[in-house]
């Protein structure tokens, strides 16, 4: 059982690295600050989660494994709060989000233009 879990570790870490790669790609390719924050808060957190989980699988004991997960939890809280702080500050500074042109898509819902 323990060997099986330890064998799972490298695969989880590899998957996490792929997510980090996709997140970095999003950071470069997305149109504006707000969309880039999506890449940072979602993809990179998932990548970090998989890497922490992979490291936890290979940890020497339960406390060490939980330490990796604690790192992930703290980063989740910090990144979520800082993403909102960055986004609301950008809004307050008058940076308008790039929005998809409504003419391109039917069935649009009511939207606000800050």
């Amino acid at each position: 059982m323990t060997e099986w879990i330890a064998g799972l570790g490298p695969w989880l870490i590899a998957a996490g690295t792929l997510f980090f790669f996709a997140g970095s790609l999003g950071l470069i390719r997305f149109p504006d600050l707000y969309a880039r924050l999506h890449a940072l808060t979602k993809v990179d957190n998932l990548g970090l989660g998989l890497i922490c989980l992979g490291l936890a699988c290979q940890a020497s004991g339960l406390a060490a494994a939980l330490k990796y997960l604690l790192v992930w939890g703290l980063v989740l809280i910090a990144s979520s709060i800082s993403a909102t702080l960055i986004a609301s500050t950008a809004m307050a500074c008058g940076l308008r989000p790039h929005q998809h042109r409504p003419a391109m898509r039917t069935g649009t819902t009511k939207e606000s233009h800050p």
Binding site: A22, Y34, A35, V43, A63, T84, A87, H100, T109
Partner: protein
């Protein structure tokens, strides 16, 4: 109050055990845990029901996984044209307080949503890939968080029955 203190002590002891990683550090740990438990101010998190949180965690992890996959797929799409929208989510279930802050922070981790602004009557949300499920999804999430925090308004509604 006593229950809250015991919960806090247990949580701090768990964190200390995780951080120290050994049985030798308790001579330092116990005084630190005791002092911390008595000194830290009570936060909104203390109002979360522990059992509801346990039921809530798998859903959050699943949504976070989906969120990461969705944005990762979008980032790797050759012709990038996301249906970005800014929408207003009007509060329906959650009264003012820690629940709203919790939701504003949580939706940053969920599929395609980012909090732009938190005001007393609404939450301004940046949606990366708008679809028909976005608004109902936000409503469902708000209802779930309201249950998680066991808001007084909900309890009052249930009592007359």
């Amino acid at each position: 109050m006593a229950v809250r203190l015991v919960r806090r002590l247990a949580l701090l002891a768990l964190i200390w055990w995780i951080i120290s990683g050994a049985a030798t550090a308790w001579a330092w740990g116990l005084p630190v845990i005791l002092v911390t438990a008595l000194v830290i101010p009570s936060s909104g998190a203390a109002r979360i029901r522990p059992l509801a949180l346990l039921a809530f965690l798998p859903l959050t992890l699943w949504l976070a996984l989906r969120g990461g996959m969705q944005v990762a797929t979008l980032a790797c799409t050759p012709h990038l044209d996301p249906a970005i929208r800014v929408i207003d989510h009007h509060w329906r279930h959650l009264p003012e307080g820690p629940g709203r802050l919790f939701m504003a922070s949580l939706i940053n981790l969920l599929p395609g949503t980012l909090t732009l602004r938190l005001t007393p009557d609404r939450l301004t949300v940046h949606v990366l890939q708008m679809d028909a499920n976005t608004r109902p999804g936000l409503d469902r999430l708000e209802a779930r968080i309201a249950r998680l925090f066991a808001q007084d308004a909900d309890l009052e509604k249930k009592e007359p029955r």
